[in-house]
Symmetry: C2
């Protein structure tokens, strides 16, 4: 067991501050402008990019890196708003498909500019092109590491 060095400690603290503040900021922005937390927005946005705006629930959980129970809860809420609907899967009787409705797509179109502006103002307008590249690379390394080893305790298999 090795403690963090002074540099690692400083980076870790800054990272925790940045992610805590950013999550709060984006949740507030989306609650105010769309009445939903950031994670719900990510679900609608992920579905909007797929052919037919639909995805199996198991795949949607993996794409958004959340647990199945958290996804079920979110989908039920979004269904209540009329922004999503569930369909049964033709090839697997126990499987379910989440489908973005037209109303959900319109809500996304309405709220996306404000959300992208918030993300840009908080992050991308402040970073150089090199820093954007570094942020992407570092994030990918961390995300990849948390998928390992095979059989890792990933949220979407819970």
């Amino acid at each position: 067991m090795k403690w963090l060095s002074t540099e690692e400690q400083a980076a870790w603290r800054a990272f925790l501050h940045a992610t805590t503040l950013l999550e709060d900021h984006l949740d507030r922005q989306l609650q105010r402008d769309a009445g939903m937390p950031h994670m719900y927005y990510a679900l609608l946005s992920t579905l909007s990019e797929t052919p037919g705006r639909r995805m199996r629930m198991t795949e949607l959980a993996e794409k958004t890196k959340i647990t199945r129970s958290r996804l079920s809860h979110a989908v039920a809420r979004l269904e209540g708003n009329g922004w999503l609907r569930r369909e049964s899967c033709p090839s697997d009787r126990r499987g379910q498909i989440a489908v973005l409705t037209d109303a959900g797509y319109e809500e996304l179109v309405r709220t996306a500019p404000g959300h992208v502006t918030a993300v840009r103002t908080a992050i991308f307008d402040r970073l150089s092109p090199d820093q954007v590249k570094q942020l992407g690379e570092i994030s990918q390394i961390i995300a990849d590491g948390l998928h390992e080893p095979e059989g890792a305790d990933v949220p979407w298999l819970r």
Copy 2:
């Protein structure tokens, strides 16, 4: 309003995946080993580094970047475990001070090695010294931006 470029979009997606997976991973690790979420650990750890292991509640909320109501809730739970206690502030009758108890300090000493190992394995063992520096700089830029302008909607003033 300007959409994200392909590079920005890729970096943003990787960042969201990394932070979502990391939060899940560290919460699971601390729940398993210490019976508390990551945020509670951060409170104990922050207090442990102050003189007298004590801090005004308002300052503790600012240091950990959370809302006062979230802090009150966490402190009540940690007080129930015997890891914290609240004292009234001699200079301000409405102010309160959070104090890390000996039992809380011992719990931190017991759980810190496992937690630091989890942070190191997920992040710092995977990054080069340059990347650690970049992560610190980028995180600091994002955190600083979310404190601006004066009077920004920061969590600890809510």
